[in-house]
């Protein structure tokens, strides 16, 4: 007779016996990366999500890219970063030459016609490249040289992002794969822009359109590029398998100036596990090598785990982004600058940073990231929690608690108004909710009532865009391109753009317009300083802190440098110390 306890013991032993064999720790040249969701598509001109970017960087190459650690632009497909040639007041020319050794998988050299094809394809009708189209709108003409098939020049608007838009925005696609019939290869850029309907009738157009719009899950739709990896398998909602190409052209190059040329792992697996608890367990079992975007709590609890400590490095990679509160400036209550300033003094930034976000972010004064030292206005100091100052500001502005209910009132346009505001956040974000609760508590002490208002993500975004809010919390993530403040702070972006607050005066508008076209760094600095001062004075937004990305990376890769460029590490650059030298 076997007693229940013994029965349980036997069961336990049975299952421990049939545990699948320990993963051969990297002996097979594989890196396993965790993802919470899969990309919505992999074609570099039609997909928009951030998940796609990381994989695209392995599959495709651009003319230029940002160096992972110095963040300067470095040549990838191009021989060098071009100097802009100033044609006149409003236009410049950028000339690129593609590297001799750059090749497609079939051995054909990468040529100017491929670059021209990629840009024209993104601008063609029926291609889902609406976001890219915006970036490419500055290109006025493409010039190709008769005698050098590797040379290409762009005539474009004099714009601070010209180098980025022409070189580092689009990954180059092989024209012979996506448009073998040559539907758009002979067309001029102007024809595509001015007469899009004529293209739809051209032979091969429909096939090209379908190839470009395909999201890439089915094997026949797998994206094809010049990067060191190819997509070997995509199992929907499960994993994406990237396989290193044999004898890739970058292998002969020196990788020191350009980390994008490194490709150590034979395979990179992107494993999709939506639940973070399960993913962390898998990490503990070393079934995953890298996990990113950990929340502050999870990151904290990881650090307490012995078995993880033993095998993993923790990294906090700063990111080019920040969180903010935005204040709707045409609201009857908030149009008073003193109220906005008072609110800025009521946000307990220090507590938010240490209690809610692990103390990893940095405070900032305005829209310039503190890491961009040249333009960051460090003579200004960010608003800090100061109850007395807030109360003084409100008193002076005529907001007083006359009926003793703890909430201030004031006559606005002849009507008595209570100092009561709503705080919009996206439902499901615990951290943002807690920020709201903290603000609510602090504001109460100063006589302001705050009502929390959660909304599901798509509704939240809509409310922000329509300006249907008083105070809202949000975050912005930026790319490494020179920042263009137009979308966030120009008055024209207040109806449909990302200027949710409705900020902008003639002076700031002209500062922003100058910033867009001034290439000289010193001159730019003075404009940026003036803009930051204006924003600091007007308080359209309260800047909370910079964003960070918390990662855990297996120690078998040695000391890994983290990067500000998402996802914070470069998977093809990870190299297990036990792997043979390439």
């Amino acid at each position: 007779m076997v007693r229940p306890l013994e029965r349980l013991l036997i069961l336990v032993l049975f299952f421990s016996a049939c545990q699948s064999p320990e993963p051969q720790k990297g002996g097979d040249g594989t890196v396993r990366v965790h993802k919470t969701s899969e990309p919505a598509g992999l074609n570099p001109i039609t997909s928009t999500g951030s998940e796609a970017l990381e994989i695209q960087n392995c599959l495709f190459q651009k003319l230029l890219d940002h160096h992972l650690y110095t963040e300067e632009l470095v040549p990838v497909l191009a021989e060098e970063v071009p100097e802009p040639e100033i044609l006149n007041d409003s236009t410049i020319r950028l000339t690129y030459r593609i590297r001799e050794e750059a090749r497609w998988d079939n051995g054909d050299p990468i040529r100017a016609k491929d670059v021209a094809f990629t840009i024209k394809a993104a601008l063609s009708p029926g291609i889902d490249a609406q976001v890219k189209k915006g970036y490419l709108s500055i290109i006025r003409a493409i010039e190709r040289s008769e005698d050098d098939p590797k040379k290409i020049a762009f005539v474009c608007d004099r714009y601070i992002r010209a180098l980025y838009s022409t070189g580092a925005e689009l990954a180059i696609l092989p024209a012979h794969v996506y448009d073998p019939e040559g539907a758009i290869s002979s067309l001029k850029l102007r024809t595509i822009r001015e007469d899009p309907d004529s293209i739809k009738k051209r032979e091969g157009y429909k096939e090209m359109r379908d190839r470009l719009n395909a999201k890439g899950i089915a094997p026949e739709d797998h994206p094809k590029g010049s990067g060191p990896y190819r997509l070997q398998k995509w199992v929907a909602k499960e994993k994406l398998v990237l396989e290193r190409k044999k004898d890739h052209w970058t292998q002969k190059l020196d990788t020191t100036p350009n980390p994008y040329f490194t490709a150590h792992p034979k395979r990179i697996l992107h494993l999709i596990i939506p639940d973070k608890t399960s993913a962390l367990k898998a990490l503990k079992k070393e079934k995953l090598d890298v996990i990113d975007h950990l929340s502050a709590d999870r990151f904290g609890s990881l650090k307490n785990s012995k078995s993880i400590e033993e095998h993993f490095h923790y990294k906090v990679a700063p990111q080019l982004g920040y969180s903010y509160l935005t204040l709707r400036m045409d609201d009857p209550i908030l149009q008073d600058r003193s109220v906005r300033k008072a609110l800025a003094c009521l946000v307990p930034k220090e507590r938010i940073r240490s209690d809610l976000t692990g103390g990893h972010g940095k405070f900032l004064v305005g829209p310039v990231h503190p890491s961009k030292e040249r333009y960051y206005h460090d003579a200004l100091s960010p608003y800090r929690f100061d109850l007395e100052k807030a109360q003084k500001l409100l008193d002076r502005a005529g907001w007083k608690d006359r009926n003793g209910d703890g909430i201030r009132e004031k006559q606005i346009q002849g009507e008595p108004k209570k100092l009561s505001l709503s705080f919009l956040y996206n439902a499901g974000s615990e951290t943002r909710k807690k920020v709201g609760v903290l603000l609510k508590e602090n504001s109460k002490k100063a006589g302001i009532r705050i009502k929390l208002e959660p909304a599901e993500w798509s509704i939240y975004s809509q409310m922000l865009e329509k300006g249907n809010f008083q105070v809202a919390i949000g975050g912005f993530a930026f790319s490494n391109a020179p920042q263009d403040p137009r979308q966030l702070f120009h008055s024209s972006a207040s109806d449909g753009g990302s200027n949710y607050a409705g900020f902008g005066s003639a002076r700031t508008d002209s500062l922003i317009d100058s910033l867009r076209v001034t290439l000289d760094p010193e001159e730019r600095k003075s404009y940026w300083y003036a803009l930051q001062e204006a924003i600091h004075q007007e308080v359209p937004m309260i800047f909370l802190q910079t964003a960070v990305n918390r990662l855990a990376i297996n120690k078998r890769f040695g000391e890994v440098k983290s990067s500000r460029i998402l996802p914070g590490f470069w998977a093809p650059g990870l190299r297990d110390t036990s792997w043979a030298e390439p």
């Binding site: 367990k281 024209s492 003639a506």
Partner: protein, 494 residues
């Protein structure tokens, strides 16, 4: 019986159609613009927006057309009398909403249109001059124009027009913009003079014909007979001809997406059904026969579990049983399954089993507790009935009494449960599938809902309603088998 089944199957058709219409109407009420979501992306997981270039009206129009969102939703629409049948032709949802508000306020469509045009013209004129001389008044004027619609009552707008006049004068903009401003003022007065509020209270019926989203989705717009026009872009063959359309976000045929996901859900669902019914037969019968204090053990345990939610038990199981620091018995995620090449079948089976035990447990424990409880009650009732006593009297052996006579009578309540259990298990569970990362139907539906991926949502809802219909039909048939007194045809007179 056969005739009854046939009748029921025929009834499926109108029910299915009715559900499709109902689902479609519900979706119309959901806020969120799928076209914008498709264009903008954004990252709800991190709560970050990237300040992108503004999406041009043309890009929006193009995408809207590609998604088939540029036609009216249904064959007809009923609205208040102020809304014309051409409202859907305005692509920008923001503008559509503004025009709708104005129309509701003033009632005359032509005048409202003229007013909007005059406003847009002035706005354009003000915008054009941005690069030249600029002043704060220009921005102030634009802002006033933006704020016309909250709310667009005659008093508010006339106040705003006065403000605007003052601003234009102050900023020395009057000379350049007086014509446009006066046109706007004129349009406003015409709108106020022709105001007919009564139209709001009058229903209006608009007929849109077969060029609508529902028709394209359900019946398809490709011709049924003959060849299709090679140059025309079709929406598809329609659900009724087996074409569920393409997912907005994955670009793949919906049928394929659901089929891939279904294979996982079916695997777990069918095993779970077997376990639930097999398990509850054993537990139900075991606990109902004889009296022993320990007999209540399994049921008590199950009921205890039954009162705890799946997401909690699931997370708890993973935390306790899949952690190298505690008990490392099970893998953490189904998708991490790696089967070594050339492994013999039994090893493959073991690896599968090991990955399936925890999710299967979560799938079954609740229903198992419920069904076995039902069965136990049924069994106890049956034991007390007259025919059991007569069976004892007739000397029928104990085993046969329990398994043949009592059980068949006790089955009725659990057959009822079957009708609801089938759709529940086969349409997947969002929570369990997410925790154990099983790429099944539940997760697919959840993602589609979050992304407003309507082709996937519609198909999924139709699929689960179909399952519910099949489930109830099956349980009806099983009733007849279990209890011959239940007959599904009219009693013949006699």
């Amino acid at each position: 019986m056969l005739r009854y089944i046939l009748q029921r199957l025929l009834l499926f058709v109108p029910t299915f159609f009715g559900i499709s219409v109902f689902v479609f109407f519900l979706s119309e009420q959901v806020p969120g613009d799928p076209v914008k979501m498709q264009l903008k992306g954004g990252d709800p997981a991190q709560g970050m927006n990237s300040p992108q270039q503004r999406i041009s009206d043309q890009a929006y129009r193009e995408m809207r057309q590609r998604m088939g969102w540029d036609v009216p939703p249904f064959y007809f629409s009923i609205s208040d009398g102020t809304i014309p049948d051409t409202l859907h032709r305005i692509p920008d949802p923001k503008k559509r909403e503004r025009v709708q508000r104005l129309a509701w306020e003033y009632g005359t469509w032509e005048q409202v249109q003229a007013f909007m045009k005059a406003r847009d013209r002035l706005l354009q004129k003000l915008k054009k001059g941005t690069s030249g001389k600029k002043n704060d008044e220009k921005i102030e004027a634009k802002r006033t124009l933006y704020s016309f619609f909250s709310p667009p009552t005659p008093e508010k707008i006339s106040q705003k027009l006065q403000d605007l006049r003052r601003i234009l004068n102050k900023g020395h903009l009057w000379n350049d913009h007086s014509a446009s401003f006066q046109a706007l003022e004129g349009a406003f007065h015409a709108m106020v003079q022709n105001r007919c509020e009564w139209k709001r209270y009058l229903p209006a019926f608009h007929w849109h014909g077969s060029e609508n989203r529902y028709h394209n989705w359900f019946f398809g717009d490709r011709p049924w007979f003959g060849t299709s026009d090679a140059d025309k872009e079709y929406a598809g063959y329609g659900v009724i001809r087996g074409d569920l359309g393409h997912s907005f976000f994955q670009g793949r045929p919906v049928g394929k997406i659901l089929w891939d996901a279904f294979s996982y859900t079916f695997l777990f669902g069918s095993i779970a059904i077997l376990l639930i019914y097999g398990g509850s037969l054993l537990i139900g019968v075991y606990t109902s026969v004889g009296r022993h204090p320990l007999k209540e053990g399994p049921q008590t345990l199950l009921l205890l579990l039954y009162s705890m939610p799946e997401f909690w038990i699931g997370t708890l199981l993973i935390t306790l049983l899949a952690d190298p620091d505690l008990l490392n018995l099970f893998p953490a995620a189904y998708t991490l399954m790696e089967i070594p090449e050339g492994a013999p079948w039994w090893q493959q089976g073991l690896i599968h089993l090991q990955h399936m035990i925890l999710p299967l447990f979560c799938f079954t424990y609740g229903s198992l507790a419920y069904v076995s409880r039902q069965l136990k009650g049924g069994m106890l009732d049956a034991f007390r009935s007259d025919h059991m006593r007569s069976a004892i009297a007739r000397g029928i052996p104990r085993g046969s009494r329990i398994w043949k006579h009592a059980l068949k009578n006790a089955l009725l309540p659990i057959i009822t449960v079957f009708g609801t259990l089938l759709p529940y298990l086969l349409s997947g569970s969002v929570i369990i599938e997410s925790i154990f990362s099983i790429p099944g139907l539940g997760r697919t539906t959840y993602q589609a809902l979050m992304a407003r991926d309507y082709p996937v949502i519609f198909s999924m809802l139709l699929f689960s309603s179909l399952l519910t219909m099949i489930g109830t039909l099956l349980s009806d048939i099983l009733y007849a088998w279990a209890d011959p007194r239940i007959a599904y045809r009219k009693k013949e007179k006699g």
